[in-house]
C-alpha cells in the first residue's frame, strides 16, 4: 500500500503517526488519514486528540478576539455554508460554544461523537482559511506540539 504525501508539504510524512494523520486530514486527504488512524494505539489516539484540540484552540485564539462574538457567529455560518450544505452535521449552537470554550468564554463540553465531529470540522476550516504555506503549516504544528508538551498530563 502506498501513501500519498499531503499537498501542503514536499517533505517526507512525519514519523509521528498522530501528527501524520492530522496533516493528512488538514490537507483533505481523508483516505491516508483513515489509514493512519486505523493503526493508532491507545496512546496515539490520546495524542491525536490532544493535537487536534491544541490546534483548534491555537487557531481560534489567532483568529478571534475574545469579546467578538459576532465574528464567531459569522465564521460558524460560513463553515455550515461550505461544509454542511444540508445543515445536518454542524449544530450552530455546539459550534459557537466550542469556539467560545476555546477562547475561554464557555465551560468544557462533554466528549460526544457529535462534539468531536464539529470541533474537527471547525479546526479544518480555521486552518484552511489561513491558507498556510508549507513553512507556515510546519510552524503551526511546531507550536501545537509545544502546547501539547506544555500541557500537564491528564488526571
Amino acid at each position: 500500500m502506498t501513501t500519498k504525501k499531503p499537498v501542503t508539504t514536499n517533505q517526507p510524512a512525519p514519523s509521528n503517526q498522530p501528527v501524520a494523520a492530522l496533516t493528512y486530514l488538514m490537507a483533505g486527504q481523508v483516505h491516508a488519514h483513515d489509514r493512519w488512524v486505523q493503526r493508532f494505539t491507545e496512546a496515539d489516539r490520546q495524542h491525536y486528540l490532544d493535537l487536534l484540540s491544541a490546534l483548534f484552540v491555537l487557531c481560534a485564539d489567532r483568529r478571534f478576539r475574545r469579546d467578538d462574538h459576532g465574528a464567531v457567529i459569522r465564521f460558524v455560518a460560513s463553515v455550515r455554508e461550505r461544509f454542511d450544505p444540508d445543515r445536518t452535521m454542524v449544530d450552530p449552537v455546539i459550534a459557537e460554544n466550542l469556539l467560545l470554550a476555546a477562547l475561554g468564554r464557555h465551560e468544557t463540553l462533554p466528549a460526544t461523537a457529535e462534539n468531536i465531529t464539529v470541533q474537527t470540522l471547525l479546526t479544518v476550516a480555521l486552518v484552511s482559511d489561513e491558507q498556510p504555506s508549507p513553512a507556515g503549516y510546519d510552524a503551526l504544528l511546531r507550536e501545537v506540539d509545544a502546547m501539547v508538551t506544555t500541557a500537564s498530563p491528564p488526571g
Binding site: Q46, R62, L109, Q119, L121, A125, Q131
Partner: protein, 240 residues
Amino acid sequence: MTDAPVERTDTADGQALQVAADTIDVLRTVALAMETTVTHAEEQLDGTRHRDARLATDRYQAALHEAWEAYGEVLDAVSAGRPQLPGGRPIAVASILYGLQTARQHAAHAAAQLSDLRQRLTYAADRLHRSEHPHAQTTADRLAVALGRLRDVEVSLSVGTGAVDRYVDALDTGADPPAARTARLAAVRPIASPNGDALAIGTRMAATVVAANRRHLRFRTRWQVFRQTLWNNVKREIRL
C-alpha cells in the same frame, strides 16, 4: 579636551540620521498617494489608444515605482546606519508602538468596510446571476470570485491584527509573552477527554464531511508561494 570635536561630529551625524528617519513617514504617504493616483488613472485610461493616455499611465507607474524605491532606500539606510553611527539612537519602543497602532487603525478601518462591501457585492452577484443575459452571468461569476477574495482579506486582517495586538502587548506591558501564551492555551480544554468510541465515530464523521467538501480546502503549496514571489518581482520590474 581633544574629544570635543569628535563628540560634536557624532551628535551632528546622529541628528542628520534622525532628519532622514523623520522623512520615512512622509515618503510612505507619498508612495501610497501614488498608488491611488495610478489606480484611478489606470481605471480610466487603460486600453485607451491615445498617446497621452499611455504616457500618463506610464509616467505615473514610474513615479510610483520610484517613490517606493526611495522609501525602501531611506528605510534601509536608516536601519543600517543607526547601529553603525555613534550618534544614532536606537529605535524607541514608543516609535514602534506608534507605527503598529497606525497599522492597526488602518486594518480596523479596512475590516469595518468589508461587511457592507460584501453585502452589496452579494446582492449584485445574486441579481446578475438570475439574469438570462450571458454577460450578466459572467459578471456574476467574477463578482463571486471577488467575494471569495474579500473573505480571505477578512481572515488575514483578523489573524494579522491579533498578532499585532499580542506583539504590542508584549512590548508595552510584557503581557502574555510567547511561553506564557503557550501555557495558557495548552490549559484550555474545549472538549472533555472522550472514550475511544466517541473519538473514532466523531473523527470518522468529520473525515467523511471533509472528503465530500474537499474543494473548499485551500492551501498554498511551495509552487504557489514561489509563483506569488515571482509574480510580485515581475510586477516590480514592469514598473521600471
